[in-house]
């Protein structure tokens, strides 16, 4: 009995970092940080980015020397590759952090309640930014999104059903075209609506036309996400439906679509997040309006992106402040939509 206990094997992980390895890594990071500080402080190099680059360079060198003593040149190359990829990832994260930080720090200054209760009807963009608000823009953007959702979601989901349920002969071609459509520049979508509708029919700039332009940009996103989601619905469910004597139409409508419901909502939300901030197509199709326009089919309309655009192009410090604040609001909306899509998507995965 005691014998068997003494031979019980403790699991070991020879590849895991030992305490001395960790100590060496920590020491090399610390030494490089110190050297970086000294170097940047004493030489003409300056700025936060100088710290960043010098740190990585010194760390590469110090760590390489330490590793070459233990593992030779092959180990050095391996460790260097790991660090260089980390370096790339950190640069991307720095850019994101810089964008988020700029938006929050600059936008927060202009946040006040009247932003959500007033319009620009009696205010000019160059007035002090505590006057006026963007209520009309928020309402206009809601109109646009509603119109785009009403058209593009049925279109996208039906296309996805064709690709996953009917699997017709043209499926390959359709998939290819949807992919190509996702690359249509947003400015071209706006020009198209202008050339096709404003130049040919009595309809003029309105929220409806803006919604049509956004539809072109939204359909590919909805289609591709919906296709992925429908592919995740188990085959058993479809076969069970058909075996019970249901027609394909009833199987899709009563079994497949309900099973994929949360995923289809995710597809919609991702599509909305894609188009909510589009600016270029709106400049041709929606026009500008400084008050609330309840009719989406007639007359221009304010939207959040064109509000930002007007603030940016007006160019005074007050108008730019308006732009930063509006972009903070827009970013919050996109973030909320994005998180919503993620949580819905995760729930779907866990339900599996």
């Amino acid at each position: 009995m005691s014998n068997s206990q003494s031979t019980q094997v403790q699991p070991i992980r020879p590849w895991a970092a030992s305490t001395s390895d960790r100590a060496i890594t920590g020491a090399s990071v610390l030494v490089s940080a110190l050297l970086t500080y000294i170097l940047v402080a004493t030489t003409p190099l300056k700025g936060k980015l100088a710290y960043f680059f010098v740190f990585f360079l010194i760390w590469f060198i110090i760590d390489s020397i330490l590793i070459s003593r233990r593992y030779g040149s092959k180990g050095v190359r391996d460790a260097l590759a790991a660090k260089v990829t980390l370096f790339g990832g950190v640069i991307v994260m720095l850019a994101v952090a810089s964008i988020l930080w700029a938006t929050i720090s600059k936008g927060v200054k202009g946040l006040h309640l009247s932003l959500f209760t007033q319009t620009m009807r009696t205010t000019s963009f160059t007035d002090p930014f505590s006057n006026g608000g963007m209520l009309h823009s928020i309402i206009g953007t809601l109109y646009l999104i509603l119109i785009a959702v009403l058209i593009s979601v049925p279109m996208g989901i039906l296309t996805a059903i064709y690709l996953t349920e009917i699997k017709g002969r043209a499926a390959g071609l359709i998939r290819f075209l949807v992919q190509a459509m996702s690359g249509v520049p947003s400015v071209v979508a706006g020009l198209f609506i202008y050339a096709a509708i404003i130049l040919n029919t009595p309809l003029r700039n309105s929220a409806f036309l803006g919604g049509l332009a956004l539809t072109i940009l939204m359909v590919p996103t909805v289609t591709r996400t919906a296709e992925e989601v429908l592919n995740l619905v188990p085959r058993d469910l479809r076969e069970a439906g058909l075996a019970m004597g249901a027609t394909q139409w009833k199987t899709v409508a009563l079994v497949v679509l309900p099973a994929a419901r949360s995923g289809l909502i995710t597809a919609t939300v991702l599509g909305v997040a894609r188009v909510a901030g589009e600016t270029a197509p709106l400049l041709f199709t929606v026009g500008v309006f400084d008050a609330i326009n309840p009719n989406p089919f007639k007359g221009g309309s304010g939207t959040i992106p064109t509000y930002i655009w007007a603030g940016l192009t007006a160019g005074t410090s007050d108008s730019v402040q308006r732009a930063w604040t509006a972009i903070l609001v827009l970013l919050m909306v996109v973030l909320i939509l994005f998180t919503l899509a993620r949580t819905l998507g995760n729930k779907r995965m866990k339900a599996k």
Binding site: L49, T159, V187, L199, T247, Q248, G277
Partner: protein, 332 residues
């Protein structure tokens, strides 16, 4: 009671056997027809975009002929008789578009491949999920946000970098400048675009890397390769066409980006090779820049420019799709 259990006399006629058929019922035929009809919306929309931009832009093509692609003048003037004289040439804008996209790819491709490698092979699980969300979020940032950031935050920094590059590498022809002016240059627009296309290149590369056949990965490890040795020998050769495809998707995005480039670029109708110098061109941004005061003839020319942009991005996207699909299929 017992009588009900007695087998009843055989009835005169047994029920007919159910008819078996592979033909779709009426409801299904309607369903399939409707769905099929809707699935062609992508084709119809793409065709309509081409047709309408062509018909409305045709007059500009006719009026300008080949000058539309070779000349760099863009002006509407009136001659002595008060008649409009139009010059619409896209050459400088096309050159600028390619130049900016090249700068963007030059920066974004290495960065994205490194990030994708880090995410697929090096990052610990928890950091990976976080970073993947952040990269996806980057793709959802509105382009006007990149424009604002590029103009107010990146602009001054990048101007300083441009001065450094010019100081030490100015002997390379395209890094020289005719006058020491570095603001709002194609270089800065290229950096902004690079940040915008990093997410798409990263996610395509990541997808292809993660499909590397496991047996080859394990074979490399079994032969004693280090992680980097494995990546160099297996992952990169396998994923190279995926990287190329992702880069081309990014290129398509870079060609069509409008608002962000307009915010950071000083658009001048003059061909400019010096990427650090303060003037550049971009078809998409030029369109919104000129739109405000455009008369009828100029609107036609702008629609024609839109058609050129549309065809350009479509071609790049077709090619990219082809390359990516081949990369993904070869893994299965």
């Amino acid at each position: 009671m017992s009588s009900t259990f007695a087998p009843s006399a055989p009835t005169a006629s047994a029920p007919d056997p159910r008819k078996l058929t592979t033909k779709h019922r009426v409801s299904d035929r309607i369903f399939r027809a409707v769905v099929t009809a809707f699935s062609f919306s992508a084709l119809i929309i793409l065709a309509l975009i081409g047709i309408f931009l062509l018909t409305k832009g045709l007059s500009a093509f006719k009026e300008q002929g080949l000058h539309f692609f070779t000349s760099s003048t863009w002006s509407v003037t009136q001659d002595a008789n008060g008649k409009d004289v139009n010059h619409f040439g896209l050459a400088a804008m096309l050159l600028g578009t390619v130049l900016i996209a090249a700068v963007a790819l030059f920066i974004a491709v290495p960065l994205s491949v490194l990030t994708a490698l880090f995410l697929t092979f090096y990052a610990p699980e928890r950091i990976r999920t976080l970073l993947v969300s952040v990269v996806d979020l980057m793709a959802a940032f509105p382009s006007i946000l990149y424009g604002l950031w590029g103009f107010f935050i990146l602009g001054p920094m990048a101007e300083y970098w441009a001065k450094l590059i010019n100081k030490y590498l100015g002997w390379i022809p395209f890094l020289s400048v005719p006058q020491p002016s570095f603001t709002r240059s194609p270089f800065i627009a290229g950096i902004v675009l690079a940040v915008m296309i990093v997410p798409i290149i990263t996610s395509v590369s990541r997808e292809v890397f993660s499909q590397t056949p496991l047996d080859r990965v394990q074979a490399a490890y079994a032969l004693g390769a280090s992680k980097w040795g494995m990546i160099k020998a297996v992952v990169l050769p396998f994923g190279s066409s995926g990287i190329v495809g992702g880069a081309m998707l990014g290129l398509g995005r870079a060609f069509g980006e409008t608002v962000a480039v307009y915010s950071v670029l000083n658009i001048v109708f003059r061909p400019n090779w010096h990427i650090l110098f303060t003037q550049g061109g971009n078809v998409a941004s030029m369109i919104i820049g000129q739109w405000g005061e455009a008369g009828k003839a100029e609107i036609s020319a702008l629609l024609a420019a839109g058609l050129v942009l549309f065809v350009l991005t479509l071609l790049v996207n077709f090619a990219a799709d082809f390359v990516v699909n081949r990369a993904v299929k070869s893994g299965r």
